[in-house]
Symmetry: C2
Subunit: 308 residues, 2 copies
């Protein structure tokens, strides 16, 4: 049987069985060392898949650190140390120096440090980052409770719109278009939510594959139904302008567009923090699956092996 | 400037400068968490470079765990947890299940656990493993002292001979040939040395790129000269038989062949442990570079970017 017949997540289920693991399946793996809860995570950026060599290299470096910090944040944690494993073609050293400069700036911003790594030669650039973090209380995808509110940390769909704009390779971009492109190229992990998640959330993950797919994963892991309301999903002014200009449906971008790196989490509806840009987009109910305005919502986000 | 103009290790020096890092450069990165010294390391196996899809998949899984444990052992540590980051073509799920079975067996042997990872789609299989370990005392490459003995943990050159035999794709192999092939396919990290290294070694690393290259790195990092004696370098009966049969020079294999995953370490010559297969192959002196029987020894081992 081919991996594509199972899809990315079916494949992971098979691997979990082989490893007889009960812990695999969250954004990060929590481990106890002494009296501390540490978090391990990894995420990769692949040339021609997640980025092109025509992108600003500092943005590539910034992003690969950010996507890892995003996973730690979703678990209620903060980053400590990173390793960078490179598969590297015989390319310009200066390009890679800029990539590392972007990583360094990101590490300064997130207060963590690259302490090592590995270099192998290959045909396409592959930047694999491993990160160690820490949390006071680990939050995974499995704890959503009936009666919880479903929250997101910010506007969705911007990154996908930014990617499409990038791929148009236009000579001139409008200001709002440049802001969308920036969201795609240099996402910022929502570290401002880390304490809130760790303190209050019952379940949490970051939205990297698109809301419809990621909500499905959270619902499945928690054994609950998520009822979402489309008019509550936060959309940026930039995305609305983009959709008007190019005659697109903003809801489609919010539901299916990936790489937003906003957070999706649940807790009792009362625990609103006015200092955070959190928006309640739904409720947790008994049952299974994800529903939008009462209708079953197909997961239309990203699956590495089920792309048409 | 291209990476190949700098070589793998010149490239790493440039990256260290960009990151302004004083810690990068050892097999593992030691970090303090509470009152514990943890170790972070990563190492990758790439399809068609480190293995072929015709290899037994359990051996590939065993090896990718072993090479990481080897780095931890070289630092005087033991493994705790691993993450597996896969770049995966649309291949047979059963092959990958066997790879994971090999990883599981290795983890059981080394007493560690795969707790998570990541899956991305790509054209060639890339298995990147990140490992967290622990040590009572970290040992790096920098501490070799004048007067130290230079030791290795076992015979060198077997893996390279095994690889050449594999690539011959013979219909029938002799017993000694199968044992050499096994050394290449299923290396075992020298975890029996971990306590000895942590207790006594001033400098240590594993021999993954070949003795001549790795000794050079240790000498450079420690700011010392290593004087080695060729007749002291341990060679297996299998390698000697191989070299006789195929008219090869066993010393060449011991010096230039990589992937032995034996340990190279230095400490006062008196600290011999009769329960370990350690052999003194030289002494640490004032100066720089590596000398074999009094002549300067060129690093002829593996460099990802300086392959002819």
């Amino acid at each position: 049987m081919k991996v594509s017949e199972l899809g990315e997540f079916g494949f992971i289920e098979r691997i979990k069985k082989i490893l007889e693991s009960k812990v695999i399946g969250d954004d990060t793996a929590p481990i106890r060392v002494g009296d501390r809860t540490l978090l391990l995570t990894c995420d990769v950026l692949l040339q021609d898949k997640h980025f092109k060599l025509t992108y600003p290299p500092t943005a590539v470096g910034w992003k690969v650190i950010s996507v890892n910090v995003s996973d730690l944040t979703a678990s209620g944690g903060t980053p400590l140390y990173a390793l960078v494993s490179l598969v590297l073609p015989d390319m310009e050293v200066e390009f890679m120096e800029e990539v590392y400069l972007g990583m360094k700036k990101a590490c300064e911003f997130y207060r963590c440090e690259v302490v090592g790594g590995n270099v192998s030669k290959g045909e396409r650039l592959c930047i694999d980052v491993f990160m160690l973090g820490e949390t006071g209380r680990f939050v995974g995808r499995r704890g959503a409770k009936r009666g919880d509110g479903v929250f997101v940390s910010g506007t969705l769909g911007d990154s996908r719109a930014g990617l499409e704009l990038l791929l148009m390779e236009k000579k001139n971009y409008e200001d709002f278009e440049l802001r969308l492109i920036e969201k795609h190229l240099r996402p910022t992990a929502r570290v401002d939510f880390s304490k809130h998640i760790s303190k209050y959330a019952n379940a949490s993950m970051d939205i990297s594959d698109g809301l419809s797919s990621d909500a499905q994963k959270l619902a499945k892991a928690s054994g609950v139904k998520l009822s979402l309301f489309s008019e509550r999903i936060p959309l940026s002014q930039e995305l609305l302008t983009f959709c008007k200009k190019y005659r697109k449906d903003p809801l489609y971008y919010a539901l299916s567009g990936g790489e937003d790196y906003e957070l999706l989490f649940t807790h009792t509806p009362e625990k609103l923090n006015p200092f955070l840009s959190m928006v309640q987009i739904g409720v947790v109910e008994e049952g299974e699956g994800v529903y939008l305005d009462g209708s079953y919502l197909e997961p239309t986000g990203f699956d590495h092996f089920k792309v048409l």
